[in-house]
Symmetry: C2
Subunit: 218 residues, 2 copies
DNA sequence: AATAAAATTTAGACATGTCTAAATATATAT
DNA sequence: ATATATATTTAGACATGTCTAAATTTTATT
């Protein structure tokens, strides 16, 4: 039986592994978990004993297949609950995190399957983060609206929805074209505008603009 | 901040207090919680320190106003989640308990308010148990269908829905009349039939019969 | 390559919630 | 009213997950 604390550590390692790449350091985990490095060392030993991670002293950790699946499942639950909260219970997308953080630990395969059905199989959470499937796979290949891209994710412009002259002129003026790399560095809750980085310079774009740009995430 | 364990103890005491009446003994709590009496003593001291209960050595415990409200709120959450699981996620009424047992500990006033709205303010859970309101009050006074009465609850027949001659003849044959005391002692999951005690003898009645009898709980 | 700085681990402690076994208090029976 | 049985509490132990402070290893600097 996995504990709540173990699940939280696995989730943190999961996020760090795809954010960094390569082995995840003790300090990186301690930062993310807002705890002390010594506590991380203790927990990391337990997780290695249970075959969730590979741990070599002083060399950081990486998830095993089992660990990855377990972590992805926690993330899946977190994001499905976020969709539920926003779509059914009138939460705004910046209010959901703390509650989803609790709900993600509820253990019941039937619950999460049925929730998935009830929500009609959403692919992304309200922040634009993709929802892993039952096996922990996430669809990285579909094009999505720029407005659905998660904070700090890098993506590439692959199309537009509004193809009016005005809109394309706007894109041209700001040097956004097919193939342009875009990184989302800030999202405003009150008007859903976002700050992006293109060609190493920052640009603030409105919700409308973001809605009309298609991207692929990396 | 109240812990998960403290909430579970308060809930157990809450149920025992209305099941028995008067102070609740250490052993009764230990039985219900499936733990040892010594563990109960330890916890009971903590709950008394935090003003959730009144505890006198060797004399059992009783909930304070604060403890009652806190416990009733846990029960409220448990029962609202049960309604959600049955009505929205295709759970049957005998599958919901373990999951609701986890969901009842999620902390978010907004969540439970919105869930209440979403479910359109249900008054009873799928087992027929009443749902306490925000202040911990439960409506004991409404008439409900016998099929909604909780296991081991005592109630009084106050009316019928189907008033056909056949049905009334059936009731007459089994000596069920207005004012008859009925205790539900068993509920079958597969056909929703139930066993009741009337005039000190047992009787098994079908779902249809139970649906058509109105009762008041005590 | 030696040394300083940073990262990581170990050792020992603490809080929570649990347990067993022993001690003590209450209830029951004669 | 005294002995016996039952209920309850205490004392001491343990597991989990955390912490601080000290020791150790790795990395960076000169």
């Amino acid at each position: 039986m996995i504990t709540l604390s173990e699940e939280n550590y696995l989730k943190a390692i999961y996020h760090l592994e795809r954010q960094m790449g390569g082995a995840v350091s003790t300090n990186a985990i301690a930062d993310k978990m807002e705890t002390k490095a010594s506590s991380v060392t203790d927990m990391v030993k337990k997780l290695a004993d249970k075959d969730y991670i590979i741990y070599k002293k002083y060399q950081g950790v990486s998830l095993t297949a089992k660990g990855n699946k377990t972590a992805a499942n926690v993330v899946r639950k977190h994001r499905l609950w976020e969709v539920f909260l926003v779509e059914k219970l009138n939460f705004s997308w910046d209010e959901v995190h703390d509650v989803a953080e609790q709900l993600e630990h509820i253990k019941s395969p039937k619950l999460i399957n049925e929730l998935d059905v009830f929500l009609e199989f959403p692919t992304h959470d309200p922040h634009g983060d993709p929802i892993p499937d039952k096996d922990g796979n996430i669809s990285k290949l579909d094009k999505i609206s720029l407005s659905k891209v998660a904070l700090n994710d890098l993506c590439t412009c692959v199309g537009v929805i509004d193809s009016s002259a005005e809109f394309l002129k706007y894109l041209d003026k700001h040097k956004i074209a097919l193939g342009t790399q875009i990184k989302v560095i800030e999202k405003e809750s009150f008007d859903e505008s976002m700050t992006i980085v293109i060609h190493n310079s920052e640009l603030n774009i409105s919700k409308t603009v973001a809605n009309n740009i298609y991207v692929k995430t990396h």
